[in-house]
């Protein structure tokens, strides 16, 4: 179970996604919390600074005998200048009492209480609030200028300041309420972060599911194809996405597999179908002859029949193999620059005896027609067309030329032509317009199918034009290829 989780693309995506999301959330929530904490400390420090200034000022006022306005103790009044050194010296010498209104601010131990402590250079207490803790930290006296430092101790924040005049001050306050507030905020941040993380996880799960759905569909289709349903194809909805492209490639592969499989199946079906009759002849004839003793004449006759039949089977098998060999890469490897005219001339010469035997005339008008072809295959193509014309037609004309960028070969006969109903089927395997049987006249019913396969394997086309009574014209068009030299 664990192993399948680890192997599942979706689970792996989800795990990485969760991890990255956690990092991002931590990296954004952590500094935010830290910043808020800093911000609060700065605010508290500023407040402590204000309180300290107000304390010092009130002490100055007391020393100078200026009454404190009870309603507004911090109000700025015009007061005579008191140098700070003199103020420190007087503070050390004279007993001073902090005004009531100021002292009230440094009282008790309720949450948020403030305290202060003013000491001399020997840390002897000059003035100190009653609630001042014992662990205050005073800064050593500086040579010149004022030193100041803020720090947090337990649940308190305090600002320590020392002046070169020999005065050490600490003003602090209890920050329990702020800490509570920060704790609440931390929890809130944690909860929000967790929520965002969970939402992200759910979204990621949904997203990875969506991303993986086409893969599942592809895999389902592929397994159905593997089970033998070769006509099935992957349904491509998004043609431009990576998966769409993959599906396209897979579909092309399936298409080619299917085509190859179909060819194989067709070959087997054709072969077994067409071989049935000759095999029946062989069986019938041999079983009949073997039933009893025969005269030599009868044996000879039967053997002749068997021989004829076996020859016919051989022609058929050779033709089927030739057909099956077309339309593959191996055939294309044998392509070389060739001249249709030369191939056609040789084929016509080859077939002259057949024409003579049938009492038919053959003419040819062959112009140079260069093409990239397997000369052997094209020779078979021409031979098949001319033989077909001689068998079914009459006198034959063979032409070759280059026409609008195509090498064109035409085989024209003046025979009875092909009926319109037969014309669309003549290139089908074993289709016989005249329904003549395979064995008798020596042709297999595959000649035109082979011609078509050869033409198409060369990237060309073949077409038959016929009007009943006006002969038939076969036109083969192959792409022109410049001959070397």
């Amino acid at each position: 179970m664990i192993k399948t989780f680890l192997q599942s693309l979706r689970w792996r995506l989800q795990a990485w996604h969760g991890l990255l999301l956690l990092l991002v959330i931590t990296a954004s929530v952590g500094p935010a919390y830290h910043f808020a904490l800093e911000n609060q400390n700065q605010r508290i420090d500023r407040e402590l600074g204000r309180m300290e200034r107000s304390l010092i000022r009130s002490l100055m006022d007391v020393l100078q005998g200026i009454p404190v306005d009870p309603a507004n103790p911090g109000a700025r009044q015009d007061r005579p200048y008191l140098p700070f050194q003199e103020f420190v010296d007087r503070l050390k010498r004279e007993p001073v009492k902090v005004p009531e209104t100021i002292a009230a601010q440094y009282d008790g131990r309720d949450p948020g209480y403030a305290y202060y402590s003013i000491r001399d250079e020997d840390e002897k207490v000059i003035l100190q609030s009653a609630n001042a803790p014992s662990d205050m930290h005073f800064l050593p006296l500086p040579k010149n200028d004022v030193v100041e430092e803020s720090r947090s101790v337990d649940q308190r924040r305090e600002v320590a300041r020392s002046t070169p005049h020999g005065l050490k001050i600490v003003v602090g306050r209890d920050i329990t309420p702020e800490l509570h507030e920060m704790q609440g905020m931390a929890w809130l941040h944690l909860l929000v972060g967790l929520g965002v993380w969970l939402l992200g996880l759910i979204g990621g799960w949904w997203l990875s599911g969506r991303a993986i759905r086409p893969i599942r569909s592809i895999s389902r289709t592929a397994s159905r194809i593997a089970e033998g349903n070769l006509e099935e194809r992957i349904n491509i909805t998004e043609t431009d996405s990576e998966l769409g492209q993959l599906s396209g490639v897979l579909n092309q592969t399936f298409e080619r597999l299917h085509a190859a499989f179909e060819r194989q199946r067709q070959f087997t079906a054709d072969a077994s179908h067409e071989l049935r009759t000759p095999i029946t002849i062989l069986l019938t004839e041999t079983q009949r002859i073997l039933k009893r003793e025969r005269t030599p004449e009868e044996y000879r006759e039967a053997l002749q029949t068997c021989n004829d039949t076996a020859q016919r089977m051989r022609r058929l098998v050779e033709a089927l193999l030739l057909l099956a060999r077309q339309d593959n890469q191996v055939a294309k490897e044998r392509f070389q620059p060739s001249d249709l005219a030369v191939i056609a001339r040789d084929a016509v010469q080859h077939l002259q005896p057949l024409a003579d035997e049938k009492g038919r005339r053959m003419e040819s008008a062959l112009e140079v027609a260069p093409c990239l072809a397997d000369p052997e295959a094209v020779a078979i193509l021409v031979t098949n067309l001319v033989t077909n014309a001689l068998q079914h037609g009459g006198n034959v004309r063979v032409l070759s030329s280059v026409h609008s960028g195509l090498a064109v070969l035409t085989v024209q006969d003046d025979g009875p032509g092909i009926a319109e109903s037969d014309l669309p089927h003549i290139f089908e395997r074993f289709y016989r317009a005249d329904q003549a049987r395979t064995g008798t006249s020596g042709h297999t019913g595959l000649g035109l199918a082979i011609a078509k396969a050869i033409a198409e394997n060369h990237g060309g086309s073949i077409e038959a034009v016929s009007n009943s009574g006006q002969g038939t014209r076969f036109e083969v068009r192959l792409p022109v290829e410049q001959l070397p030299g």
Binding site: I279, T284, T305, R432, Q435, R437
Partner: protein, 216 residues
Amino acid sequence: MRILIIEDDPHLLRSLAATLREENYAVDTAEEGEDGLFKARQENYDAIVLDVMLPHLNGWQVLAQLRPAKKTPVLMLTAKDTVQDRVKGLDTGADDYLTKPFDIEELLARLRALIRRAAGQTHPVMEFGSLVIDTAARRVLLSGQEVAVTAREYALLEFLALHRGEVVSRTTLYEHLFDEDDSTLSNLLDVHVSNLRKKLGPDVITTRRGHGYSIA
């Protein structure tokens, strides 16, 4: 027994015809569907061997045009062996169906069965008192002893036996025992009947004057 073979492959036709003739059938042949249909309508064959793939008029069309006027048993020969093809063949009115390639003995056995069934007989061995005719082995036994009969004599005896109890006219006998190429001599039948009576006893075949012959 007279049989028509409709088959366009000349080699196969010749071979089948020769086989059947050697089995003492009278055989007519046709290389095309139309010719075959014409003959099948014209004559009363005991069975027709019909190839499916024929030029012009194929086997199915021949069969469709032959039925229902003629009830002659038809054995179809075909290169197609799917179940649908066989079902189609039998449903179109064929009596039996044989896929190429076949063994000649199977074809002969199926033809014998077809002819027997068409004549209303179910068992290949027929008994008439002490006379036994084994149509499968093509033998004639009298009181357990095999009697040597010629091919024609056997064919005559078998035809009468298959139509036992019926009076078979001389014309019918001529039609079923001789094929189209036989030069029929009018008294040939009488010679065969007379020979059979000599071999099997005078009462085996009865003559109905003006009607024909019968076996009881």
